[in-house]
Amino acid sequence: MTVALETFGLGKSYGRGARAVAALGALDLSIPKGLVYGVLGPNGAGKSTLLRLALGLVRPSRGGVRLLGESQIDARVLRRVGAMIEAPSLYPFLTARQTMRTFAHLSGLDDPAREEAVLERVGLAGAADRKARTYSMGMRQRLALGAALLTRPELLILDEPTNGLDPAGIHEMRTLVRTLVDREGVTIILSSHLLDEVQKVCDRVAILNHGQLVAEGRVSDLVSGQGGLFIRATPLAKAAAIIGGRGRPEGDGIVVTIKEDEVPALIHELAAAGIDIFEARWMTQSLERVFMSTMGDGP
């Protein structure tokens, strides 16, 4: 079984009749094991609904979901999953250590050493005896992540895991996510608004909009072939005439939309025409640009 999460025509609507609001359309998605999978989309796109449906927190209006090969979403399969959905949900009156104990009880886990190790791993060992209500947002995020990691999950579902984290925390989170996947074989599904982070950490992504899947694939595939060549040259007007409709001005240069293997020929052509080239730089397409163009708001 190589699929972590599969959905079949999965849909969710809230309300009834004419007032029904579709949070998720008929979604067909297959998320393979062994990678970091990003779920992207603007607010209200259906990301959290998808994750809640996957965890059995809400019931589908249509279609179905299979989690780690199981279509019956119960504690038997959920204990193989760690999850952190939306804002960290913690008991304000419990310390981090007591929070771990509570979730260990709930999961049928009796391994105090594991609880300590997890607190150490998420950087809360020094604050383990402080009550959660005194924690900053970043610390709460770490504690919720620790609770999700407690049972050594095969699959980790993280909804906006970098919310509230400072840049160092975001870097740590990215490192942790990659370590879990690359060294420990955990599969991670995460949703995030930080597209730059998603591009850095995810192997595949799905982009949702208005509850529909609008793009899906490997991050490298989505951003490749959509790059451009930035050229700064003199005289620029002459260069622009040679480049023609393939180029558009940007700053003090021109961005040329061509394939990467056509670049040497263009450089030769410009040089042969007596143009001085000061800079020729291949610009990789960012996931953010892909996202914005997919949303219909891009360049």
Partner: protein
């Protein structure tokens, strides 16, 4: 699964110290403190109007501490913390990825049952201590006319009555909490309903029509009065209501719990 959930609930409640005290610890302390103050005032200031003490009747009355709506407020708050806490702290989404809904809710019910049992026993013990202090002050004590078995059965019936009454209350809190997803509604709505029941059932305290046992307060009072009769008190108008009262309390508990569980099992936790 239910053992895991119960372990987690008990652990969580035991660490929620202030809530635990006000919900389940305050009434025993209040029963002890108010009883001792009353005895001291009566003995040293007002004079002993009743020149003897009744420790076992005191402990019997201790089991009835939660019988009136205003005194149930602590237990209602405790039930709201247990049943509505996950909505308030938005922790369902963390809990229900570790355990199933049914065992989690049943564990909450068991946790409340255990906590209220301890609280009731402590209330009875507190009142027994008050009775002993009274005996020491008045140098005299009276004892129920029943034998040890009758006294034990009487206490058991008093405990059972209040325990069942509180379980009905808790199941109502559970239902309101699930429907409204708020702790405040669980407390306020329950208190208002109990108060309304007491007002509406005043005439039921005089006995008569068995229809009154549909009111949980009358049903529980019937069982308590059967306990009093077992301990030798002849003044028990409602003791004939004991069996139908017990049946009524069980019926209410089953109905309310089933409704709450059915709703909860089907509930979308898109928000808590």
């Amino acid at each position: 699964m239910i053992a895991n959930a119960l372990g987690a609930e008990l652990y969580k409640l035991s660490r929620n110290t202030w809530s635990l005290f006000w919900a389940f610890g305050f009434m025993p302390v209040f029963a002890l403190a108010s009883g001792l103050l009353e005895q001291a005032y009566t003995h040293f200031t007002a004079g002993d109007l009743i020149p003897y003490a009744s420790p076992l009747w005191e402990s019997f009355s201790g089991f009835a501490t939660f019988s009136v709506s205003i005194f149930q407020i602590c237990g209602i708050a405790g039930a709201a913390i247990i049943f509505a806490g996950e909505y308030r702290w938005e922790t369902w989404r963390a809990m229900l990825t570790r355990n199933d809904r049914l065992p989690v809710m049943l564990a909450k019910l068991l946790t409340f049952a255990l906590a209220i049992t301890v609280s009731l026993v402590l209330c009875a013990l507190a009142r027994f201590i008050v009775g002993l202090v009274d005996a020491a002050l008045t140098h005299d004590a009276s004892w129920p006319r029943a034998d040890a078995g009758g006294i034990a059965l009487g206490h058991l019936l008093a405990f059972t009555a209040t325990f069942m009454q509180m379980m009905v209350t808790a199941s109502f809190v559970m239902l309101v909490s699930v429907i409204t997803r708020t702790m405040t509604a669980g407390i306020v709505a329950t208190l208002l309903v109990l108060f309304a029941c007491e007002i509406a059932s005043i005439r039921g305290n005089a006995g008569g029509d068995p229809i009154w046992v549909l009111f949980p307060n009358i049903a529980a009072e019937g069982i308590r009065q059967a306990g009093r009769a077992t301990m030798g008190d002849p003044d028990t108008l409602l003791s004939a209501f004991a069996m139908p009262g017990a049946a009524a309390l069980v019926m209410w508990f089953v109905l309310l719990t089933t409704a709450a569980l059915t709703l909860f099992l089907r509930q979308d936790l898109s928000r808590e």
